[in-house]
Symmetry: C2
């Protein structure tokens, strides 16, 4: 949670001069989003978010992300829509950094999702997949299965520092995942970071998704696997089968899974745990002490890896459900 | 800029259950306020701020601060008003910390105030003094003139570390300030931290003040002196007499100064520079490396001290203006 880029009233006025949004009424830095600086902007015309993209988002990828948000919103999916300036541009520039003005999306994220929240989250994810189906652009998953072994090669000493013997265990997981990774599953645009803090509710109902800056083209079922890991583990590390059933049932209420997709869920979930374990492991040791953003504990995902390693059938709860 | 206290959707629901504000529609941590954690809360009924008080605000002082905000708002001054819960209490409790729900105050602060902004800021300060005049409570200024010499006694080595020879210079300033400090000036509730980031504008017009957590009972002209230091120095360290004239003229448009108040401005401004120099000096060395909030540079106020020391007449621009 951080605001890395400081924006003065003069810089804001300069930016707004390019738009037809009226005069600013309030402007506040928001402690939301780890990768970017976010500001809540209220003008005569309504409420908006200004996002300034920091180093971690590649500027070349912005047309994909912003185009996707626009496409989703135009197709009825509840997400923030980028607002074009008078010249028709979605990407602005603030303090030399790329930036975008997007519409405000109301809603609250939940910290400890109930099974009912998981059902709604699943429904929202299927909705996102459907709404994104006609999107013309595509983007490779830079953090997809093929990237994991090369990424881990540089992190072996970090893994051993966390827990002696871990490196060999991860290598063994990587080999199994590479061997069993499914090919040819139905796919398209996926969110790829569909965690509870990126999903909004109004009361108990799904109200939208935010933070599309990991979105890419990959298997839809992989997005479900990411969500199962993110939504259905208890704080004590156990997998909540009731929540997982609810998440998949909510998804299937909009988009039923093929039997191939369903069969693939265990290995996809194992792989999804690997993906977040590896990037957290990387950030854990790469983040300088005293940085504004505290890195997330890789051990949380190491425990999820262990669950999928030892009990892959857990995720197959759905058979006959 | 920081959010120290993390609040879950469940904790928010628990808090809101004590109020008649309806269901939450959105809730965001705000990068505003250095001393507290602030959240922007939207409900069915409107928009509010939730402030969670961190260690630096003494809980015993909250009835004064919140009572003052309520009094000011009831007397037409534009500031956030604390909202009582159903039991009539203004002070809530979140994660064991005191907290308050206040109304949302729109407006933007300016980074580099023009003379026109200074005039409006002066008008707003006089308005605040007038509106606070009938407030029944009082609170000693814990950071008033009598506190400075004892505070500096513990900071001599820190001053010498910043600039050799500085400690004797500060002692000499303190002696002069103690000798010439005015007594018996008109007084009452002052803001005591009336900096540009605590004052809101709509366009060019004063729109309100925030952050009353240094408010206390002291001389009104001392509040003006604090504001002159905070608003009328250029980035290069020079004192902008045009801005200062505008600030005092704006103030006097609502509340004319007595000749005693006017004559006291130079020594009050010297003292006001001392107060902020000393607390910044204290925080500069007391703040651990890598803390969420970067301490403010005491040298900015050391330079202001030097201006008042060498050219006290600068602040007397107002004679005959």
């Amino acid at each position: 949670m951080a605001v890395y880029t400081d924006i003065t009233d003069e810089e804001l006025a300069e930016l707004l001069a390019e738009f037809d949004l009226g005069a600013p009424l309030s402007f506040k830095g928001i402690a939301e989003g780890v990768e970017n600086s976010n500001f809540l902007l209220e003008t005569d015309k309504g409420r908006y978010f200004l996002t300034v993209y920091e180093r971690r988002v590649r500027e070349d990828d912005l047309p994909f992300y912003l185009g996707l948000m626009r496409h989703l919103a135009e197709h009825g999916f509840p997400c923030a829509t980028p607002i074009a300036n008078r010249a028709g541009e979605l990407i602005q520039r603030v303090r030399g950094k790329p930036a975008a003005v997007v519409s405000f999306l109301p809603g609250l994220s939940v910290r400890r999702p109930s099974a009912a929240h998981c059902r709604e989250a699943g429904r929202g994810l299927a909705w996102l997949h459907e709404a994104g189906a006609g999107f013309a652009m595509s983007k490779e998953n830079d953090l997809g299965q093929e990237s994991w072994a090369p990424l881990f090669a540089g992190l072996r000493p970090d893994a051993e520092r966390l827990k002696p013997g871990m490196a060999d265990q991860i290598e063994s997981d990587l080999a199994r995942i590479a061997r069993d990774w499914p090919r040819g599953l139905p796919g398209g645009v996926i969110h790829a970071d569909y965690f509870p803090d990126n999903v909004f509710f109004q009361g108990q109902a799904f109200a939208g998704a935010i933070d599309f800056y990991f979105a890419c083209t990959d298997a839809y079922a992989y997005d479900i696997a990411i969500a199962l890991n993110a939504w259905c583990f208890e704080p004590d590390g156990s997998f909540n089968i009731t929540s997982a059933r609810a998440l998949v049932a909510g998804y299937e209420a909009r988009r039923p899974l093929s039997s191939a997709e369903r069969r693939a869920l265990p290995i996809l979930a194992h792989g999804a745990a690997m993906r977040f374990f590896l990037t957290r492991l990387h950030d854990w040791h790469a983040t300088p002490a005293g940085a504004l953003v505290r890195p997330k504990d890789p051990m949380e995902y190491e425990r999820k890896l262990a669950v999928h390693r030892s009990a892959p059938d857990l995720v197959l709860f759905g058979e006959g459900a």
